[in-house]
Structure formats: C-alpha cells, structure tokens
C-alpha cells in the first residue's frame, strides 16, 4: 500500500509491535541493547561523537543539534546534573510523543540513561502533561520493570553507573514546552520563561546543568547507537538527517501518525500517504508547526520537507503537526483561531506577547466581521514584526507566524474581506447573507417555522422574506428549503 511504502519507521519502530507493558517484549526488540553497548564499550565522548556524526537535530521543533547539546552539558563542571525529557506535547494537532510513550516507553527511558551516562547525570526527570493518563501509567510500569531488571537504578548492568528516573506532571500550559518555563514548572512555580543565557545546559533544574530533549529525539538515540551514525545519516537531506514523525489531520482521508524520511515532499505526504482531500475537494493549504508555524500553499507541494526549507517557506517544523485544509477553510479565520490559542496560552510576562497578540486578535476579529480596512492589513504586518523581534521566549517570537504566512500566501483572501466584505470560503458568518428568491419560493412556510429567531416573515403560499437585521446566519432555512429558493452570498 502507498500509505506504508513511503514511510520509514525509526522513532515509531516498536509502536504497535510490542506490548508496552511487558519489558520482555521490548528487550526482544533490542531495547537496552544500546545502553549496554555504551556502558561496556564506549566512553561518553565516543557516544557523543557518534550522535554528533549522525546529524540528529532536536525533534521538538527548534532543530538544535542533539550531540552538541549533550557535549555542552557534559563540559559544565557540577556535582549534580539532570536529564529532562520534555513530554509536554502542547501543540494542538500533534500526538507523536503520546504515541511513543504509550507504545514504546522503554526507548525513551533507555535513551535518557544513555544521555545521563554521557553528560554525567544520575537523575532523569520526565515532564509529562497530566492530559495523558495512559502514557503516565505505561511509563510508571516501564520504569518499575526496568528497575527490576537492573536496567535502571543503581549499578546498571554491573557497570557502576547509577541512573534513576522520576516523573513530573504538567498542568495544562502550552508555554511549558519552552525549556526554561518547563524547568520552572518542575520546581513548582508558574511556568514562565526566563532570558537565555544562562541556558539550561549551564543552569537549569534547581540551578544545576540540565539537558532537555524531546521524546521523539530520545526515541531516535538507541537506533543510532545500534545501527551506527553512518546508517542514520544516509537517511534525509543534507542538513536534516533521519526521519520525522508527522501527525496528519484535518481534511484528509488517511489521518494519523506517519514517519517519513526528511526531504519527503508535501505532495507525497498529502496525496500518496494521506490519500488526498476528503470528499475530493480542492487542496488549499497545509499548516505545519502549530501555533508557531505557518500555512503553506500548493506552490510548496513539491518542496522537500526539512527544518531549513520549512523556515525558508515562512513556517517551521515544530513538533510535527500537519493540518490539511481545503477550499472551505477561511485563512483569516484560521489565523484568528491560532491567535486565540496564543492569547490564552501567553504567560503574560512580557508586553509584546501579552498585549501585542491581543491587538493582533482584535484587528483580525474586525476583519472577519467585515469592518476591516486595507490599512489594517499593513498594521497586522508591522505589529507582527515588532512582536517577533521583541518577545522574550519562543512562544511570543513565533506567535505572529500564522498571521504573516497567511497574509503572504493568501493576501487576496484578506483583500476580499476588507474591500468587498466577502469571505471567499463562506466561513465568516458576519459576511454571509441569506436571501429568498421570490420566484422560487412557494410559500410552504417551512423556513418560517424553523427559523430560531423569527427573522422570516410571509403568508402561506406567498413569497417569504428574511429580515437581515434579525438573521443570525445559522443556515437552518438554507438546509430546510426543498425548492432551492434560498441563496447564500
């Protein structure tokens, strides 16, 4: 099947294959083999050099080279260091971390231990969302079983290396995916980010050097050790190695998680793996990178997907959410939707993000209600640039991306809203208008009886009429009419 033909499974290798609550199953699929290899045959420097050669970059979205991050943390002198797994998957529409933790928790535990060995830490912390109860339960079982087998805890495999893993729970705050905010949250504080430097590698959890990696990044590590950096670096593009898991969702036929080599094109993902658009509608856009990313048009369908190409196209990799939209989706509304998210999730610490995004949202609301002007579009651009340049953390710096990318790629749609007061996708309710065509109306009174606000008047067997000042544009009359006598413009 084409759905599977284009996929290469590295991070998801064991998901759905093993019973995640049986460590024996995982071991039969090479779990902890890489850890054993590292502890018995490699020095920490050799492991780090292998990870660096592999070209693995952070899968949480930023794309920072993983090996380099480990090396920096290793080189900081300290009596205590920490390995943190960022499982605070807050990007709406992405669920690859949940799948890995629920389907193959040992791959993450093993990689954290390897990281601990490399940087000189003996404590690992998993920061996980409280919204993922099954993943939490499976992780707890996995930690317990690994301890029973002597694969975690004191003196692992007789090597003299100790490593224990604890769990910390999030409480529903998107900004906690940012590493400094995440660390504050683990310390029992409000999850507000702080200025970097100092980076967590130097001063993190409880002021100690802390290496923070994402779930999917960790899941790649054991495979790199087992199969070698050379094998891994053969997959992908020049600057983005390996595979990436994407959560395919929205108006597409095959929804779900896919794992493809870096450099696969959007066209392959949407049409071959995704099976095309639902109901044969026209493809309009793919949104990647969640609330920090942007919308790509059909012009980008043949662009190979990797970190750098997505940034060049005005979006970003993000954690791998991929929402497909069709001709019925209004891009101004989509931008507004993401802004609503940012508004709610902004921690409020710095002004550009807290106030600037509120203003952006107000302008977008004005446009979707038909009260926008051409100058408003210019205002959106200027304000977006200011927010990007002056916000404290990644959330604020990337929050205007959905606005900028929709303006760049769908300016005609914005123009239709402000110049003609029309929503081409027919989604902005305030801009819609229902009318009854006199010649087609038979006066059956069906619309009159169904209208929830009494906006329709007329006598039986005579043409009816919609009072526009009362109409709430619910569309009930349009659906009920048996004679196609109601038009929508």
């Amino acid at each position: 099947m084409t759905v599977f033909k284009k996929q290469v499974r590295i991070a998801l290798r064991n998901c759905g294959v093993i019973d995640p609550e049986q460590i024996e199953d995982a071991i039969a699929c090479d779990a902890y083999f890489a850890l054993g290899k590292c502890l018995t045959t490699y020095s920490p420097d050799e492991v780090i050099s292998e990870i660096k050669t592999s070209g693995l970059r952070g899968r949480g979205g930023g794309g920072f080279p993983t090996g380099l991050k480990w090396e920096i943390t290793k080189n900081v002198e300290s009596d205590q260091k920490y390995v943190v797994c960022n499982a605070d998957e807050g990007d709406p529409g992405a669920f690859m971390d949940r799948s890995i933790l629920e389907g193959d928790p040992h791959s993450v535990l093993e990689a954290m231990a390897i990281c601990g060995y490399c940087i000189g830490a003996n404590t690992g912390l998993i920061y996980i969302r409280a919204e993922y109860p099954l993943a939490i339960q499976r992780l707890k079982i996995a930690i317990k079983q690994a301890e029973e087998y002597g694969l975690l805890g004191d003196n692992i495999l007789g090597s003299g290396f100790d490593f224990k893993i604890e769990m910390r729970y999030g409480a529903g705050a998107f900004v906690c995916g940012e590493e400094t905010a995440l660390i504050h949250s683990m310390e029992g504080l409000r999850g507000e980010p702080t200025v970097k430097p100092p980076f967590p590698s130097v001063s993190g959890y409880l002021g100690k050097p802390t290496n923070v990696n994402n779930v999917e990044t960790f899941a790649n590590i054991p495979v790199i050790i087992n199969k070698g950096a050379k094998w891994f670096s053969r997959i992908g593009t020049e600057k983005s190695k390996g595979t990436k898991v994407f959560a395919l969702a929205g108006k597409i036929n095959n929804v779900g998680l896919i794992e493809v080599p870096m450099g696969t094109t959007l066209r392959e993902v949407v049409y071959e793996i995704g099976g095309g658009i639902v109901n044969g509608k026209k493809f309009k856009s793919v949104q990647t990178g969640g609330p920090s990313g942007g919308c790509l048009t059909k012009d980008f369908l043949d662009t190979p997907i990797d970190y750098d190409n997505l940034v060049a196209a005005g979006s970003m990799m993000g954690s791998g959410g991929m929402i497909v939209m069709d001709e019925d989706d209004c891009m101004v509304s989509i931008a507004k939707f993401y802004l609503e998210f940012t508004l709610e999730e902004s921690c409020g610490k710095c002004n550009p993000c807290r106030i600037g995004n509120k203003r952006l949202h107000e302008i977008l609301t004005k446009i979707t209600e038909g009260n926008g002007t051409v100058e408003d579009i210019e205002r959106l651009k200027v304000l977006s640039d200011v927010i990007k340049d002056t916000s404290l953390c990644g959330l604020g710096q990337s929050s205007p991306n959905p606005v900028l990318s929709t303006i760049a790629n769908f300016e005609d749609e914005y123009m239709a809203h402000v110049k003609e007061e029309k929503c081409p996708a027919g989604q902005c309710k305030s801009l819609l208008r229902y009318d009854i065509v006199e010649d087609l109306c038979t006066g059956c009174t069906l619309c009159f009886r169904n209208c929830p606000v009494g906006a329709i008047t007329g006598e039986r067997r005579l043409p009816h009429f919609i009072d526009q000042s009362l109409c709430i544009k619910c569309g009930v009359c349009f659906e009920k009419c048996k004679f196609d006598a109601i038009t929508l413009t």
């Binding site: 949940r98 999030g170 029992g188």
Partner: protein
C-alpha cells in the same frame, strides 16, 4: 465567591497529602494535582491550608492555580463535558458542536448547570486528532461528533443518572 467552611476531615486530608510530599514547596504542583483529584476543585480556603502546610505565601499558591488551565477554583458538574478545540477538531467543526452544547444546556464555557449535573469546558487537544471533532464526558471519549448528536450524548448521561437514582431508591 461565597466562603466555604472546610470540614475537619477535609483539612486533615489536605494535610496528609502535603505530608506525603514531605511538605516541600517545590512539590506544590504535585500537591495541587492530588488535592484536586480528591476534592474536584481548589477553592481559596483549600489554597490557604496548602500554603500554610508548605510554608509559602497564599499568593504563590494562587498564582500557580490560576496559571495552569488544569486547575480550577469552580466546582465541576457531575458529568464534566470537555470539547476539544485543537486545530484538527476546529477545522472539522468543533465550534458548532460547542455552540450546540451551550444552547442545549444553557450554560457558558467554564460554568455548571443549575442542577450541578453538567459543566462545559474547552481543552486544547487530547491527542486523538484522528477522531476529530472530539468530546469527552468524564473519562469517556466521543469521536467524530456532529452537532446533531449532542442531544443524544446529553441524554445518555441524564438517563444513566436517573437510572442510578432509581436503583439506589
């Protein structure tokens, strides 16, 4: 907000939970999770007890409770309804589903019905985007929900509640 008088039992329960975490201030979020799990919500009076036990200011506790969307200071309905407003659910019509729940129950987001049976909340992505739009009631997940099914879902919980009452009577 009306003042609540906590019973001795409740105060003891909170104290025990704090003691389980060795009354450490950096365990605040874990303590809040556990207390909300037992009591259903975190009113100001509960926060005062926690602050005293962990030896931190009430403002610090309040700051954390209001920062994280998982914590609530308002009691939830017997059957808390959560509508996912993640992107995948949004493009598949979650807004219309939410509007229908609000209309049928006549409450707004974050409120409970007068009889305390239902409350409505929005959440951001439960990670079940393949089933969009998603609604959860208590621990149960409803996938691919259309506005026309809302009535049915509400009825399922009104009926099961009255059936339980009939049984216990």
């Amino acid at each position: 907000m009306p003042e609540i008088k906590l019973s001795e039992n409740t105060i003891q329960l909170i104290k025990n939970i704090c003691a389980e975490f060795e009354n450490k201030e950096n365990e605040l979020i874990n303590v809040l999770h556990r207390v909300q799990g037992k009591l259903g919500y975190l009113p100001a009076e509960v926060q005062e007890v926690i602050a005293k036990e962990l030896n931190i200011g009430v403002a610090r506790v309040y700051g954390v409770v209001t920062f994280y969307s998982f914590f609530t200071m308002i009691p939830q309905g017997e059957s808390p309804i959560s509508i996912c407003m993640g992107t995948a659910c949004y493009v598949r019509g979650a807004e219309q589903v939410l509007a229908e729940f609000k209309r049928q129950l006549n409450v707004d987001v974050g409120e409970s019905t007068n009889d305390g049976k239902f409350s409505i909340n929005c959440l951001r992505c439960v990670g079940a985007c393949g089933l969009a739009p998603v609604v959860t009631v208590g621990g149960k997940v409803f996938g691919r929900v259309a506005p026309s099914q809302v009535k049915e879902i509400i009825a399922e919980y009104t009926q099961s509640n009255s059936a339980d009452e009939a049984k216990s009577a």
